[in-house]
Amino acid sequence: MRISFEKRLEQSRLSAILVPVFSFVMALIFGAMILLAFGVNPLQAYTVMVRGSIGSSYALSETLVKAIPLMLTGLGVSISFRMLFWNIGAEGQLAMGGIAAAFVALFLEKYLPPFLVLPAMMIAAILAGALWGLIPATLKAVIGVNEILTTLMMNYIAILFVEYLYFGPWRDPDGFGFPGTAQFPETAWLPRFTGRIHFGIIFAIIAAALIWFILNHTKRGYEIRLIGQNPRAARYTGVNIGRNILVVMLLSGGLAGLAGMAEVSGIAHRLYSGLTSGYGYTAIIIAWLASLNPWGILVVAFMMGGLIVGGDQIQIAMQTPAAVAQVLQGAILFFMLGGSIFANYRVRIIKNLEKSKSGADGYG
């Protein structure tokens, strides 16, 4: 007897719903065992988590605050993943966006009419993220350098550059030695709705609509999908793959850059160390969990925001070590991603040759 995985010809709708639900339940059970090992009542912990992430308007707003950069970066990487360009550099593109926005807010603000400050920050951030993404894209399109390595390595450059700026030349002289730039003038603050929910949520929704529209209703979107589905067929039908890489990375990097602007301008009102806290990497997981669907990314990013905020609450309310919340988050992601294999593959248990003969008709 042996077990074999066979790719499903057609993904069944039922498994598309059941598999994630089942995976989530498994993750909760697994998490419960870990919590028990730390002497924490799992039911109590989960209640704290749910309450802390969506149980009050404050909790909800904090979840959304975490979700906004995840949405924008998730959308950004999703469009490059659509054409099999593995942009894992959203973190660096976000950082460059944050730097550009901070530059406008700190040094150009006094020369600009107030109503132009935010648009200028947005444009600067989008351009900075896009250009940061354009470097690996050009290397790939022109001489075929592996984008996974270049985008990843450029993250470190960007992250260290941010640190250099707020530890060094841009450090707030009145900041009592804390790392971070001076606070931006109020004209450079993104308006807030309620709690800390800022205008970035609108950016995210517009970005999702834009990506949906590009993919489904433009020539460019058609080419991106074609390249993603079969690069050889795309080349054969005359699609210029190099040019598409450049365009897609401008878009992908631009969205990550915008996420950086939203973070510095909507939340911290300065360039600070929390900017590069891993949103760009989490975005990769979000994009895959949402099967690269732009609307799905908004939903999954919200859930991920809840997971982060809820995890923090466990730590605060139940006095567990910080690692417990992280293990819990990791377990949930692990089961969700691991479970997705069952939606695309079916498991066949093969007892012996005699039996599998009759099973052969199943191929259709």
């Binding site: 209703h217 058609y222 999908r225 005359g238 191929y363």
Partner: protein
Amino acid sequence: MENPKATTVVQLKGITKKFPGVLANDRVDLDINSHEILALLGENGAGKTTLMNVLAGLYNPDGGEILLNGKLVQFHSPRDAIANGIGMVHQHFMLVESLTVAENIILSLQSNALSLNLDRIKKEISGLSKKYQMPVDPDAYIWQLSVGEQQRVEIMRLLYRGADVLILDEPTAVLTPNEATELAAVLRHMANEGKAIIIITHKLNEVMNFSDRVTILRAGQKIASFLTAKTSKEELARKMVGRKVLFHLERSACVPGKAVLKLENVEALNEKGLPALRSISFQVCCGEILGVAGVAGNGQRELAEVISGLRTVKKGKILINGEDVTNCTPLQAIDIGISHIPGDRLGVGLAPNLPISDNLTMKAYRERPITRGFFLDRDQLQVFAKNLIQTFAITPPVPETPARLLSGGNQQRLILAREITANQGVIIAVHPSRGLDVGATESVRKTLFEQREQGTSILLISEDLEEILQISDRIMVLYEGKIMGIAEVADITVDEISLMMAGQPLEKFNHELPADGLKT
């Protein structure tokens, strides 16, 4: 059996293997003998590799049985197979470059010993190396070795694990002629020592030089078996390509117009950087089908690719209606009016996961009314798709169906529909009816023939000789990237084509044969 010492080691009985939509092996029987080299001959996709993967434990057959020394066996993995003495060297070697030869050889061994006596293992390797006259340095790193030497390591690995049946998939594909000769000697030596050797190949020379027996597969079925000494390349070529008469086309006499597609001394390289096309010159006229015959891998695919802008021309010129289009981009080739029906339907011709509609518009999407400026008009796209689905009778007639769910015949209809709609005078068709059933084959050929009637120049590249003879006006034979000859289809016999496919230029036997021998 030729060799008196030969005994049957493995018997395959009625092996059947299905893949979604394809019957890769259809009740194949095969005997494998010790002291013997067996060649498994067939075109690409004939099911040779699948059959051997079943024997080597990589695939579970859907039907049939394997007898090893008369005993029924089942292999659930390559490990199972090798434990029973059956091993396979794949086309792509599975060696770890940064390890030494000895380390690679022991890599897959299952041993519970905690310590590793590498010296003893090296000695054993040297012993085998001497026994089979196959020099291998156990301490060399894989990355230091030539491809031929790496292949020896793969073979050594199987010998070390006690394999008595060795399967080699296209062993000479990666070798230089000298290395191939060395390999032939090594294999002969192993056969003399009592091993059973199977080589998978589609090269006729290799069959003649290497093997004692040859079995021919076509479309998943066993067609014939011969003692190599009692057959000829021509007979093998004929059996391999098959001769099935499907239907008769009323051929109007070809009134060749002006030359539309013209190649002058074109040279190109294959993926490995070796010459694939050598000084190719020919022309196709308006309203003419030029059939290109040849055994697979003699430059056919590369020929199609240079014309459609997918492969770089190193030397020479390609002209369309007198205009130089050498090394144009694929998009320029499309704009000039070159339609290309690729041989690899799912790999190149289609995006299998996208719906029929998107596949049909892969070339038309750039223009009005489907696109306006940046925007794609989904409604127009649907109208366009529905029209083509109707005209070309694609089933299911549902534009949203993913292309991968279509039958082979309908997938090809989809490609034909797209390419013929985009057609502006030249069609390059590669294996247009490969793997299709009789009905679909007929419809594909009729469609191409209609295009000829309407004045299109068609280059028909096919391994199916019958197809070429049926609809071509002239035939050209490629061998190792060179043209062996071009002749009117009416003026040439299948035997002559077989000779050319085996590497004899047309002029050569023109002199040898009496003049009336040329006519059918």
